[in-house]
Symmetry: C2
Subunit: 356 residues, 2 copies
């Protein structure tokens, strides 16, 4: 089994403003270490897959920054989408391009900007899931037992185990992001898991399923160039014509070949500044979470991020404080979802663009 | 009567960190308008005194920045003290240099970094106090009725009025910064006023009082050069030999020629970021006080200062938030005195100097 990671890095998240900007979205930020989340994602694969077997699909205008962030990946393996069309066209494109990669080829579609740890456990399970996908001709998706009634994630209702004691099971149903009451039920009924958006499959299996369930995408594939980055016009035509739809909706919800692998590693999509704190508090690293140079006197529950400068606080409680050279954000941790309102306000204000 | 303002601008206040730095102390900051507090101070004198009659005494290493801040003052009227020795040596030097300024000359010693408003009222009272100082051969000091039991100010106990209904009165006693119980008594007994540190006197009167009460300073004066900025070595000798003492302690507390003028203008020494808020709230300009570009959503009682960038906050309550290109400060308004602890911490930390 040979893994071909396809890392999806097209996000434009605004939830990490003012650190995240149009030209530097979340996956390019050093949120969990000294390097970008994308570079963390690549490093996490070391030993399970080779950089030369790895692809990154991002937005066209981010391709240069992505290449700089992960220089060990061949330049022509970084694909810049001319227009974002959700995940299905990107996954289909990857399966198409890797269709002749060999009998032992397994594609691993992975997010570029999530927290996954410990890395060793992740690699072990990734390899095991890839082997299962190859053996069974299946599309395996990683799922996590919920630790809270999260309304921001999709869920998968798990069916029967493929064998007694196996972490592999069939899918009973995909569930869209639930309301709080439903999420509370999901979090406690033992049958629902978080859908982490990580898929493993032999390329031919995915292509068959795309042909069966998303023919409007499948019919566009033969017009793609035989090699990556060879024909910009063909890529533009493909993305221009493809529907904007997630791989979950286009294929996974309809496929009889979907299996879930119950993950034993920890996962978080790191959806906000507050999530940065939740993860580390869980690790018991103290009540404040800091990045960069900070001085926090008599402060608790603070997430402080200094991008090249200094955050200094006295008596701060449960606040997110972010310093960048041109902007400072202050927000209670339980209101970080309103950072988007700030970004919206900036978009509407004269001159606000300079901060986006 | 001709006023010769002598503006004392040698402060090194740390309470406005991170905006205030060693090379840009409070008097050079645009805290109350778009220009520096020193420039505000000079502008406030327009119509009462001429720039060419005005002097600024500052620290030697700040002299260049001071000249840039108030270019209308003749360059050689900006005196850079080689070493800070409190106010008495500076006042004595000014009196000495102005001793031949004419029969109608009155020196007005003024702080460079206080809030004083409205300007018109201030000018009227300044001129009236100057005339009184000249007529009576007195040292007149401005005092304000306390509006709160402030422990950070010195007080003056007022004696008898010089005439029924006159704002001029004799001094019963100077009082050091009191404890809170004493300050509460002072604030309500009607006899104690805040000492604003503004003095008016004919130069000859001050020189006589210095000779009488501070001979160790008086004896150094004849060695000063006849003209300003003519002899750096003589200035260095003077400041090297002079005692470090305030004009209040050296002269005012002992002089029988001191009078107080009860001020009708508003005054605040603007001792902290929180004071910035207090003053404006009193003017009813809303619950948040902002400078520079700010977006404050659902926030109350915030003092937000953006130095060339942006402060963005959601749900902030009673906080001071200051953004500078290399540092951000966050602090509850009622704990701004602890900004000094942050500065002390920076002084002690490796590399902390870069932020001071």
């Amino acid at each position: 089994m040979r893994l071909h990671p396809v890392i999806l890095a097209g996000g434009r998240g605004e939830r990490f403003w003012p650190l995240s900007r149009r030209a530097r979205p979340k996956q390019l930020l050093p949120l969990l270490s000294e390097r970008s989340m994308l570079a963390d994602t690549l490093a996490r694969l070391r030993g399970a897959a080779l950089p030369r077997d790895t692809f990154v699909i991002t937005a066209r205008d981010l391709a240069g920054a992505v290449r700089d962030a992960v220089p060990e990946i061949p330049h022509h393996h970084v694909v810049g989408e001319p227009v974002g069309k959700n995940t299905a066209p990107a996954v289909a494109l990857a399966a198409w391009w890797l269709r002749d990669a060999g009998e032992d080829a397994v594609v691993a579609v992975l997010p570029s900007d999530h927290r996954v740890e410990p890395a060793e456990r992740f690699r072990e399970e990734l390899v095991r899931a890839g082997e299962a996908a190859l053996e069974r001709g299946a599309i395996v998706t990683f799922c996590m037992p919920p630790t809270r009634p999260e309304t921001g994630y999709g869920y998968i209702e798990v069916g029967a185990a493929t064998a007694p004691g196996s972490p592999l099971a069939t899918v009973a149903a995909f569930r869209e992001k639930p309301d709080l009451a439903t999420a509370s039920r999901y979090a406690s009924d033992g049958r629902h898991l978080w859908n982490a958006g990580m898929f493993l499959f032999p390329p031919g299996v995915m292509l068959e399923e795309i042909r069966a369930h998303a023919p409007e995408i499948a019919e566009l594939l033969p017009a793609l160039p035989a090699r990556l980055a060879e024909d910009e016009a063909a890529l533009l035509r493909y993305y221009g014509a493809a529907p904007s739809v997630s791989i979950d909706v286009a294929v996974m919800e309809r496929s009889a070949r979907a299996l879930v692998a119950r993950a034993g590693f920890a996962w978080d999509d790191l959806g906000s500044w507050a999530a940065l704190g939740q993860g580390e508090a869980a690790e018991g690293s103290g009540s404040n979470v800091t990045r960069g140079r900070t001085i926090l006197l008599d402060s608790d529950g603070v997430v402080a991020f200094a991008d090249g400068g200094l955050v200094a606080a006295v008596g701060a409680r449960d606040l997110v404080i972010v310093h960048t050279p041109d902007a400072t954000l202050v927000c209670p941790k339980d209101r970080v979802q309103e950072v988007r309102a700030l970004v919206a306000r900036l978009k509407a204000e004269p001159g606000g663009d300079a901060f986006l």
